[in-house]
């Protein structure tokens, strides 16, 4: 999981306010929350002395901005997934939304489940229902701790 400090270390740290935020630390928080883009920090992109920092930041942010991660930051490493469905059954949202299916250990039956096993690996759907979605997010980790192969992580 990428921390705010890691992002901050790769910013100019001049607090120039060109991005519209009071400090570089505030920009790091917004960048990690995907509310700002790297390009919003104009000195970093334009000034050649920050070239190495920019390359480092792009590398650090690549998994977060890639299409593989959902809006909650969930990344499923399908190559590690057994398709055991532990996360599907343990997910508190699945239990609440699908009491006749995933809650009792079966496949989802309600169409409101947020995790399901498709083609032998777990897949995230209805992502807006996840507890980690949106501003009021709760740092739920039911799908991570129940995974026997560490195939799920949040970034």
């Amino acid at each position: 999981m990428v921390s705010v400090m890691e992002v901050y270390q790769l910013l100019p740290k001049t607090n120039c306010k060109k991005c519209g935020l009071p400090t570089c630390m505030a920009f790091a928080v917004e960048l990690l929350g995907k509310r700002k883009a790297i390009e919003d920090c104009t000195p970093l992109v334009e000034e050649p002395k920050y070239e190495t920092k920019l390359a480092g930041l792009r590398e650090l942010m690549a998994p977060i901005l890639s299409a593989d991660s959902t809006e909650t930051g969930m990344v499923i490493h399908t190559e590690k997934c057994y398709g055991c469905g532990n996360c599907v059954v343990a997910c508190p949202v699945n239990v609440a939304n699908d009491p006749k299916g995933t809650a009792i250990g079966r496949g989802p039956v309600s169409g409101k489940a947020i995790l399901m096993v498709e083609d032998g690996v777990v897949k995230c759907v209805n992502v807006d229902q996840c507890r980690r979605f949106g501003d009021e997010k709760v740092l739920c980790n039911a799908c991570i701790v129940t995974c026997p192969s560490k195939a799920i992580e949040f970034i």
């Binding site: 057994y82 469905g85 250990g105 079966r106 496949g107 989802p108 096993v117 032998g120 129940t146 026997p148």
Partner: protein, 406 residues
């Protein structure tokens, strides 16, 4: 809805889209199950005699020729056969006066036999899901071997008396020689033992249950475990190959432990069996002959370790392997001996065993290409139909036709 015969959990909530025999999309099927479904188009067995392809009728008559006139035939396998085929197999063994055995003779046969005799308390997976508050996985790693074990029955689901699931209502305890994927989930409930250390662990647990300080293992942890087990309302023990192999042929210590636990509270044992219908074969043979494996029908019914594949290979003169791949599992000297025998192999896919056979007879994959009935590893009967069209014969028909020809 389709069934999965990829392991002995026989999952029945599978949704699948086929394009001919090719799988397009599956839902609720684990990775192992998906591999099982995809295998419909991979490396299928063809009818052959001495390596040359023949038609199925010729393969069947050649199979009968291999078995005919032999005195000491071993019929082995049966874990991946339907109940009807297993029954026909036992009839064939009676007709030939041969020995019939399955892989449980070198794995969990002793535990299954005790369960079937009623000497070890058992229950169904649905009981586990509804009532169990302590699940013990002993020498067993279902996360790898039976991926949906924990999510469907033994740890994660909500049940009648276990509405709060794993967070508050259930406890998983894993006893293993390595930190397996199942142990990874159990976290604090993982007890690492040294290879072959099961007997010591049982001794320590017996002492802890009796309120004494254990002489071996971590004293404090064992006492805590003893208290936890004493307080359990409904416990389930899932045994694996690790336990059976560690204790060798002498499982008495484990049986006494289960007895002791049942004096204090209620604990049931469900062996985690590998092939999808191993339990079915054990049950069918137990009903017919009173034993779960290693039975000779030469003069009435005879049973003993000398009729298990490991020993009987020394004296038998022909082998028929049905739905199993012992060559891949047995130690090299035994596998070599098996490969050198006159052998008929009946199966769905090409394996090391079928490569060493004189005659190979293909059959359809149960639950996908042919229907049938099987027993889940907890003994619940499951009936399934074919979901794709296929020209392969069902296993029961192959066995019956061989029986007619010999």
């Amino acid at each position: 809805m389709a069934f999965c015969t990829g392991c002995s959990l026989l999952c029945d909530d599978i949704e699948v889209d086929f394009e001919g025999a090719k799988v397009k999309r599956t839902l609720n099927l684990c990775r192992k199950g998906r591999g099982h479904y995809d295998s419909l188009l991979v490396d299928r067995l063809a009818p052959a005699v001495d390596g040359s392809l023949v038609d199925i009728d010729e393969a069947l008559s050649s199979a009968a020729e291999v078995l005919e006139g032999r005195e000491k035939i071993l019929l082995f396998g049966w874990g991946n056969s339907t109940l009807a085929a297993q029954k026909a197999g036992i009839e064939l063994a009676k007709k030939l006066g041969s020995v019939i055995d399955d892989p449980s003779s070198y794995s969990q046969g002793l535990i299954t036999e005790k369960v079937l005799k009623g000497e070890l308390p058992t229950c169904t997976f649905d009981d586990v899901r509804n009532f169990a508050d302590v699940s013990i996985f002993w020498g067993d790693d279902p996360s790898s071997s039976h991926p949906r074990h924990l999510s469907r029955f033994s740890y994660y689901p909500r049940g009648e008396k276990r509405q709060r699931g794993y967070e508050e209502d259930r406890e998983a305890i894993v006893i293993d020689v390595r930190k397996s994927p199942t142990a990874q989930i159990a976290a604090d409930g993982f007890f690492k033992i040294s290879p072959g250390g099961d007997a010591d662990f049982i001794e320590a647990l017996m002492a802890a249950l009796g309120g004494k300080i254990p002489k071996v293992e971590d004293k404090k942890r064992m006492l805590n475990l003893g208290t936890k087990l004493r307080k359990a309302k409904f416990g389930a023990i899932f045994t694996g190959l690790g336990l059976a192999h560690s204790l060798g042929g002498d499982l008495d210590a484990f049986f006494s432990l289960v007895g002791k636990l049942n004096e204090l509270t209620r604990f049931s044992v469900i062996p985690t069996l590998g092939d999808y219908n191993t339990r079915g074969f054990n049950q069918t043979l137990f009903d017919e002959a009173g034993h779960v494996n290693s039975v000779s029908f030469k003069d009435g019914v005879d049973h003993g370790p000398e009729f298990g594949i490991a020993k009987y290979l020394d004296s038998c003169d022909a082998v028929m392997v049905v739905g199993s791949d012992p060559t891949a599992v047995l130690p090299a000297p035994l596998a070599k001996k098996l490969a050198g025998m006159p052998m008929v192999a009946v199966g769905t896919h090409r394996t090391l065993t079928t490569d060493g056979a004189d005659v190979t007879v293909p059959i359809g994959v149960a639950g996908l290409e042919v229907g049938g009935t099987a027993l889940r590893t907890d003994g619940v009967k499951v009936e399934f139909d074919a979901v794709v069209d296929s020209d392969y014969l069902p296993d029961v028909e192959v066995i019956e036709r061989i029986m007619e020809a010999v």
